[in-house]
């Protein structure tokens, strides 16, 4: 049986995620945000794994902050629904894979905080490439030795794409840094057992041109079994 991977019907590279999940041997299942947090348990009961894709900024109130002027696009219903999904998946020991906003949301779900705007809060390199070149690798990341992510790629240096202005600031209890950009921005986190993992870049846009990134989806599927 193909493991069922739940993800919300995001606008951010949804087709690409679906392709990658199918290619890695999973069955994508769309979760409507309108169902709300109260249905999160019913969904997770019926799923084998969870993917949290990219999208809006996380509402700063959720980690105890007011928004800086550069934070404009937030959607509270989506935050609440996905946070409930993440917490329920973790409670049921089902694997969670976060991408971009997904990494940030996983971190917030477990008690971490975010850099609200990299350009004004300390980023030294480009973390946002043009919308028309999603498969271009634009900066490097260094994988932390001994992490599950390091093991997955079998090397310490990767080149990745970048579409974000926010990032993980304080890593949540239970998570650890698995990759950093040269300017110190956290590019990947994971739980000790590796069942929760997340990256700041967009592997869904890279799998066709650079197939090694499909390993992340294969990992999610493996963890479902």
């Amino acid at each position: 049986m193909q493991p069922k991977i739940g993800l919300i019907n995001t606008w951010a590279f949804l087709d690409e995620h679906i392709d990658c999940i199918l290619q890695a041997g999973g069955l994508p299942v769309m979760l409507p945000v309108a169902a709300g947090a109260e249905n999160a348990k019913a969904y997770i009961d019926n799923l084998d794994g969870l993917l949290i894709p990219g999208g809006e900024d996380v509402t700063p109130f959720l980690y105890g902050e007011e928004p800086v002027p550069q934070v404009k696009l937030i959607k509270r219903e989506k935050d609440d629904f996905e946070l409930a999904l993440i917490r329920e998946a973790i409670a049921q020991n089902k694997p969670v894979f976060g991408v971009c906003r997904g990494q940030q949301l996983v971190n917030v779900a477990l008690g971490g905080t975010l850099i609200q705007d990299i350009p004004t809060q300390g980023g030294k390199i480009s973390h946002h490439q043009d919308d028309t070149i999603p498969s271009e690798l634009i900066h490097s990341v260094e994988l932390t030795e001994g992490t599950h992510l390091h093991q997955l790629f079998g090397k310490t240096r990767l080149e990745v794409n970048a579409y974000h202005h926010q990032a993980v600031k304080e890593v949540a209890p239970g998570l650890r840094v698995a990759a950093k950009a040269p300017d110190g921005i956290i590019e990947a986190v994971e739980s000790e057992d590796g069942r929760i993992f997340a990256v700041q870049w967009h592997p869904e846009c890279l799998c066709k041109r650079y197939p090694e990134f499909l390993a992340l989806y294969r990992r999610l599927i493996e963890l479902c079994q």
């Binding site: 350009p119 480009s126 070149i133 271009e136």
Partner: protein, 237 residues
């Protein structure tokens, strides 16, 4: 003598149409006006075809375009660098090396000027406004492409000097990156008043490049057509 075939590297755009290969008519028309036969070269990952492409043409024009991906020359991108195409970088670098190996001439414009420099071991300023102290504009409005907006000091004895016949010219300007250190074996033949490198040429003069856009100028200011004529003339030998 037969008219020489001048390769013109295509751009790849996802903006207009998914994966559209194209070339600005201004480059094609400038080559035609100079007496060359333009041959458009599509950018692909198939570097095994580079030799065949180089065999096919007598000279190469590398047009303007994206930023060169800084990872290609061992740097991380500064925040202002966000539009590039590594496939194109690698294609053009391989093409530059093959044409030089075959002794065929190359003329680089803007990005072309920069990629030649990277292909041969030079370095770039990634973003002039944030990395270089300058009090002149290197980015004029897109609507006034044939307007001359800053001056360039021309090195006596250079190809550039031969073409323009004087020490100071005025040019248009559309770039936020620039050559930092010229590649070994290259001499700087033009500089803006703020010191930005505006033109280079190889010792043998077979490879030459400019930071401005002569293809937008030659109709209004015919002397800029001299650059394309120089390429065609070298390609005819």
């Amino acid at each position: 003598m037969m008219q020489p075939k001048i390769g013109v590297v295509c751009f790849v755009s996802n903006k207009v149409n998914n994966n559209l290969y194209g070339v600005q008519a201004t480059y094609v028309n400038a080559v035609l006006a100079a007496g060359g036969i333009p041959v458009n070269l599509p950018v692909t990952d198939h570097l095994e075809f580079i030799k065949t492409y180089a065999d096919l043409i007598d000279g190469l024009l590398i047009p303007g375009g994206e930023d060169v991906n800084p990872l290609v020359y061992g740097e991380e991108p500064v925040p202002q660098v966000n539009y590039m195409n590594r496939t194109k970088d690698l294609f053009e670098i391989a093409l530059v090396k093959e044409l030089i190996a075959q002794g065929k001439p190359i003329f680089g414009i803007c990005r072309g000027h920069q990629i030649i420099n990277i292909a041969l071991g030079g370095t770039l300023i990634q973003d002039i406004p944030t990395q270089y102290t300058s009090n002149i504009s290197h980015l004029q409005a897109m609507e006034i492409r044939s307007e001359l907006t800053h001056s360039v000091q021309v090195e006596p004895g250079s190809i550039l000097h031969e073409i323009f016949g004087r020490d100071t010219i005025q040019v248009n300007t559309y770039h936020h990156q620039a050559v930092r250190e010229a590649a070994p074996g290259f001499k700087v033949t033009g500089r803006a008043p703020d010191g930005i490198i505006e033109a280079m040429e190889s010792q043998d003069g077979n490879v030459f490049s400019v930071q401005w856009h002569p293809e937008c100028l030659y109709l209004r200011y015919p002397e800029f057509g001299g650059l394309f004529k120089k390429l065609v003339e070298k390609a005819s030998h």
